[in-house]
Subunit: 231 residues, 2 copies
């Protein structure tokens, strides 16, 4: 069984070997990206979630809160359209849109191109924080390191608190698990405690935060976390 | 660029060839599944959406409404856990759980095994409707035919009405687009008209329905659609 994206699950060793070699080429590029980011002074966070979980909205609010204090850059990954990059650009921070043209996740090679394009936009060659917003997909992005320093998985209240056990890989490989849209708790049968418990059973080292970018509840804990990771 | 799952996007022709051969093996098995389903008398619907869009809840309500009138079977696809199959089993219809063990979508070979297991549960060797609930993923499942007669894409109100243009492939390949959780419209900035418009620009032949399995609004149109496809 291929663990990378599953398309070869019944196809035997030939594809397995090719996938292993893809992952190993990806890991080499991810390591190079990490060194590249170190030269920029940037701590990078890879954001993984389903479509519509509120990644871009959380970024908008985060830039509102920290944009004057920290030098923030964003790489937006989407299959099509540059809508998310437009939203971030309106906040006045450097942003690069990567469209994958059908592919279900970012990989380290795409992010390498993104970092180079972003660099060209910087007035000073330094960043504090780089957010990499992955393609909306809770499955495939988990298999691909991008060179990030921290991996974040987001789950919104409408998606249901059972998702950590149904889609474990993203939770197993993450450093921080953020529940979003908690302003909607009263309308859904969602338990923050249950979601955190499922995730922590998979990965006891996960940092957990529950927040609403709309009302601001929980945002302070998230901002404190961010300030902590850059030092 | 590989259009199947993207994992090979920067890896050149060797992987492209392997992926073409996977897709072509999948298409042959999908055709065999279709013939197998014809012998059972079943019309099969492949349900594609993000995690948490309400596929299982819609199935529960559909079985409540049509379970006495039609012979319904369900194949549940998940990465891990048999929670969805348990929910469907409680409704008293034949159900098979397929866990992909990490893979991001169902393929025709897995569904072939599912159909054979389901067949063994039938008291009479006939079905009217077979629902195949794919893995929660709006991207990868669109590339894999399963032998279904109709492909359905679901989008829930909390996910946002821009998703058809951001994740076009599922909408391009579907026959029917169902918006779920419309009871939540007042809490979200979601436009049914905009979502349908985006989807219909991609695929003018799409049948569109907006419903809430919770309140029952729009359910009648869905039930009429289902009765129509089996005749």
């Amino acid at each position: 069984m291929c663990e990378t994206c599953g398309c070869s699950q019944n196809q035997g060793t030939k594809v397995m070997d090719v996938h292993k070699s893809i992952l190993s080429a990806n890991e080499r590029q991810a390591q190079a990206n990490k060194e590249h980011l170190a030269r920029l002074g940037a701590v990078a966070i890879n954001m993984i979630s389903s479509p519509g979980s509120g990644k871009t909205t959380l970024l908008e609010r985060t830039i509102d809160e920290l944009g004057k204090e920290l030098r923030i850059g964003v790489i937006e990954g989407d299959i099509e359209t540059d809508r998310d990059a437009e939203r971030i650009r309106a906040k006045g921070v450097p942003v690069v849109q990567i469209t994958t043209g059908g592919a279900c996740h970012l990989d380290a090679h795409l992010v390498h191109k993104g970092i180079r394009t972003l660099e060209a936009q910087l007035t000073r060659p330094m960043l504090d924080l780089l957010f990499i917003e992955n393609v909306g997909n809770l499955v495939c992005p988990a298999a691909f390191k991008l060179g990030e320093h921290h991996r974040m998985v987001l789950l919104s209240v409408p998606e249901g608190s059972d998702k950590p056990i149904k889609y474990p890989k993203a939770f197993l490989s993450a450093d921080i698990f953020v529940i979003t849209k908690i302003d909607l708790l009263e309308y859904f049968d969602f338990s923050i405690e249950e979601a955190f418990d499922y995730a922590l059973r998979l990965n006891p080292k996960l940092k957990t935060i529950a927040l609403s970018a709309k009302t601001g509840e929980g945002m302070n804990e998230w901002l404190v976390y961010l300030k902590g990771v850059i030092h």
